[in-house]
């Protein structure tokens, strides 16, 4: 009986997903529209899913209320809502005036992102050394604790033995298990190979990176997270900020900090490398460093150092190295050019992207994740 409401519900969910897909660009561009709800859920406002009606304009309407207050007093609680009163079922009569907020799991969101941007599934690097052990009670043993005793099998054994020894009497079926008849449930250890991944975000927080640039980084990071999380189980994220020196921070600080000093990109790469060396042996981890900056570096000398570090110590360890250059009025954008000149625009492991403004986020996500690495 209630399976039909499940069908209607999944139909509704499909329509919602379709709408999100259609408007994905808008949601990506305006990252603030997506609200986090706990660890696994996001809530997304969906416009215009309601069935239209001829109706009066909102502000025209007004109405009659009940309670205290003098003429001219604002109505507490803000905008009055028409809504469903409790009680009599009369669904479909209430006319909500707000956008509908729907909840989606991050996995569903990632799926939509993947389909819309046609992101290939990530091929984890060949090593599958991280093992996880899962115990499953799938077998039978002749030894074990009483709490795991398998009655049916025990009696079967007893029956077998009694028939074999001729003790069994069909007219008076009495089965008495003895010790060697006892059977117990037992487990098998299933070893699973898992691919773990770590994302290391690095960001330039020197004076030239303004709030708008950080907002772009934040939005892009959310989508990258969402996608990579759907590809790997147990993903970790680390955050590094740098100006002339680099330090590791938590997520919140990562987006909020603004320094005014100069910029030495190599400081971040050094820290990144040491993080990898101490915590994430490449044989067990898929490693994704993302670096966002406005492209200014203190000196050509430092840039040279960076390039060398990438070539010699970072690239052999990571899946891909992603560099996103957020365009800012103050930045020269030189670093992108240097990277492009050194590695070429279409390098397999060094992915470069220029993000001019919020509109560019979508393309940038595609640049980074479109390779399936």
């Amino acid at each position: 009986m209630s399976s039909s409401i499940r069908q209607d519900h999944s139909r509704f969910r499909n329509i919602v997903k379709g709408m999100i897909k259609k408007n994905l660009k808008k949601y990506i561009t305006h990252g603030e529209m997506i609200g986090r709800k706990g660890k696994e859920l996001v809530s997304i406002p969906i416009p215009q899913i309601e069935i239209p009606r001829f109706r009066y304009g909102d502000k025209e309407q007004g109405g009659v209320g009940q309670g205290k207050g003098e003429p001219g007093d604002a109505i507490a609680g803000g905008e009055p809502e028409e809504g469903d009163e409790p009680g009599q079922g009369e669904a479909g009569q209430g006319e909500g005036k707000h956008d509908l907020e729907v909840e989606l799991s991050l996995a569903e969101l990632a799926e939509i992102l993947g389909e819309e941007l046609q992101l290939p599934k990530i091929e984890p690097r060949g090593h599958k050394t991280l093992k996880s052990k899962v115990d499953k009670y799938t077998s039978i043993a002749s030894q074990g604790p009483n709490s795991l005793r398998h009655f049916k099998r025990t009696f079967k054994e007893a029956l077998k033995r009694q028939i074999a020894s001729g003790v069994y009497n069909p007219d008076k079926p009495m089965i008495i298990p003895i010790k060697k008849d006892f059977r117990f449930r037992s487990w098998k250890s299933d070893v699973k190979h898992e691919n773990s991944a770590v994302i290391i975000y690095m960001m330039d927080v020197s004076g030239s990176m303004g709030d708008e640039q950080k907002e772009i980084v934040r939005t892009e990071a959310f989508w990258i997270d969402t996608w990579l999380r759907s590809q790997y189980k147990g993903i970790e994220t680390r955050y590094i900020i740098h100006d002339a020196t680099a330090r590791e921070v938590d997520e919140d600080t990562f987006y909020r900090t603004r320094e005014s000093g100069g910029t030495l990109i190599s400081s971040a790469y050094k820290l990144c490398e040491s993080l990898i060396d101490t915590h994430y042996p490449p044989s067990e981890w898929n490693i994704y460093p993302f670096h966002f900056s406005d492209g200014d570096n203190w000196s050509g000398e430092d840039t040279k150092l960076c390039l060398e570090m990438m070539q010699n110590s970072l690239l052999p360890k990571v899946n891909t190295f992603c560099y996103g250059q957020v365009e800012s009025r103050y930045g020269s954008g030189q670093f992108y050019k240097d990277l492009a000149a050194y590695f070429g625009e279409n390098h397999e492991e060094v992915l470069l992207s220029r993000i001019e403004n919020k509109e560019g986020i979508l393309q940038s996500i595609k640049d980074f994740l479109g390779k399936g690495k």
């Binding site: 009986m1 604002a74 079922g89």
Partner: protein, 511 residues
């Protein structure tokens, strides 16, 4: 039993309680259909509520959306549906499994109030009491259409129809058929032996002719008759509020579309009286659950729990009118006034406030009066006839509106007349705009012309466009709407793309 209903799943204790409450209700003179109570869990309750109380509806995503919202509201503890009852004979009511015993008692008393109302209120007298079967049939038919034609196609059409589902005339079931009227008047005319000139009055004495039928009068009558004839050629002859009926008769519909439209129209008419009597219906049911519980059914140990849930039902929020609260208070006020004889000419003309306040003729007509009111009134006549200045003041009713200067909703005034006027306006046509079909062949080009009867408030432009899109998809030719925006007459035109080529066009012009 059909639909998986089985009243026998009530526990023996609940059965006993039901019989007890039913006894009290009958004792008070409530007169209801047999009522079958069904125990369900919150998930089923949410599903049924999404289905408008019915266990089976045709497949449609909006039920899923309502279910989504209800379930979320329940999970977050924001709302909980205690009871639900459907207007059928026998009537089915649902009890939530998780309700406490005192809640179940209250719900049962409340339900008997509703069913008494369904059975006896005049505005429900034309509803289909076998709606459970009808809904199930609709579900089967629409499902089979979907299997044959594809879910998307049928669902799209349903979406379109739902956009105009409210364009019906809830009073139509009570009116004699206007078409029949026309025919009878036409026959008397032709029965007349002498073919009379239009409007010419019968003259027995020839010399009176030029006094009774002066030339000027005859000329006027000719014009009127010509207009009348033109009108009758027009389809519809006069503005028609039941737009769905007009579409059924005139729109170029596929047989299956016709079928779906007819079914949805039936459902809309079925639900209409519930919207017309929301305040009364809830007020009446609350009045009786309160009466039965406080005078008969409540045990001392249950008083606090009852008060808690009762108060929750009657809670008022700023900017919102709780129909339960207004309804129950108005019924109580009527009962009190008719008990005291505080009505009629003598009372109305009494200027002495103290005398009026202590007015008591010991008539004791209150109970009788409220039963009468529940029989004949709907929300509009209920408020119009029985809401007094005194009541308005005691209930702290106010008018609110949007202040563009401060950008917020504010209390405008507490003037009794204005409050009442506003409330009546909101109840009229369920607070929705009046839309009529005025011409089904505008400009002899097969275009549809609608007319919004402007009553001081403009239409929401964005929603109007979307709704006209749906209408145009059904009509398959351009659709026009006459309305008024900021005191200027306007004509909206929606031109659908021909055979899916090109784009739809929406335009507006001042007229």
């Amino acid at each position: 039993m059909a639909y998986g209903f089985d009243s026998s799943d009530l526990t023996p204790e609940l059965k006993r309680v039901r019989d007890e409450i039913e006894g009290y209700a009958r004792g008070y003179g409530l007169d209801f259909f047999d009522t079958i109570f069904e125990m369900i869990d919150h998930d089923q309750m949410n599903a049924f509520a999404a289905y408008g109380g019915f266990p089976v509806r045709y497949p449609h995503w909006r039920f899923g959306m309502d279910f989504d919202q209800l379930s979320k509201g329940y999970e977050y503890g924001l709302q909980k549906i205690y009871e639900m009852v459907i207007n059928t004979n026998p009537s089915y009511a649902y009890l939530m499994k998780s309700n406490t015993m005192v809640e179940q008692k209250t719900v049962m008393a409340h339900v008997f109030g509703h069913v008494d109302f369904f059975k006896n209120n005049y505005w429900f007298s034309k509803t289909n009491r076998k709606m459970l079967d009808t809904m199930a049939n609709h579900a089967v038919r629409i499902r089979s259409l979907m299997e044959k034609l594809g879910q998307e196609k049928v669902e799209d059409f349903i979406d379109r129809v739902l956009a105009i589902e409210n364009l019906i005339d809830p009073f139509a079931p009570f009116a004699p058929s206007p078409r029949a009227d026309l025919r009878t008047s036409a026959r008397t005319d032709s029965d007349d032996e002498v073919e009379r000139e239009a409007g010419r009055l019968k003259v027995d004495r020839g010399y009176m002719e030029k006094f009774i039928n002066p030339p000027q009068y005859l000329a006027e009558q000719k014009v009127i008759a010509a207009e009348q004839a033109k009108k009758e050629l027009k389809n519809p002859p006069s503005p028609m509020k039941d737009v769905l009926a007009f579409l059924l008769a005139n729109a170029p519909l596929q047989p299956w579309e016709h079928d779906v439209l007819a079914m949805l129209r039936d459902e809309a008419y079925y639900f209409a009286p519930q919207a017309q009597t929301k305040i009364m219906n809830e007020g009446w049911a609350s009045y009786w659950h309160s009466k039965i519980m406080t005078t008969k059914a409540l045990k001392a140990s249950e008083v606090i729990d009852f008060c808690d849930s009762h108060a929750g039902t009657l809670v008022t929020q700023p900017g919102r009118l709780n129909p339960y609260k207004v309804g129950i208070e108005l019924f109580r006020d009527i009962e009190d006034r008719w008990d005291r004889g505080a009505f009629g000419k003598e009372f109305d003309e009494c200027d002495d406030l103290r005398v009026a306040a202590n007015w008591d003729k010991k008539l004791g007509l209150g109970r009788q009066k409220i039963f009468e009111v529940r029989k004949v009134c709907n929300d509009i006549t209920f408020i119009d006839q029985y809401m007094t200045a005194d009541f308005c003041e005691r209930q702290k009713l106010y008018n609110y509106g949007f202040n563009k200067r401060t950008n917020q909703y504010e209390i405008i005034d507490r003037d009794y007349k204005k409050v009442k006027e506003k409330l009546l306006f909101q109840l009229t046509n369920r607070g929705q705009p009046f839309i009529y079909v005025t011409d089904g062949n505008l400009g002899n080009k097969g275009e549809l012309l609608l007319w919004h009867k402007h009553m001081g408030m403009d239409l929401d432009a964005k929603w109007t466009k979307e709704t006209m899109r749906s209408l145009a998809a059904i009509w398959k030719r351009p659709v026009n709407l006459e309305t008024e925006v900021e005191n200027q007459k306007k004509l909206y035109t929606y031109v659908p793309a021909v055979d899916g080529l090109g784009e739809d066009d929406f335009s507006e012009k001042l007229t």
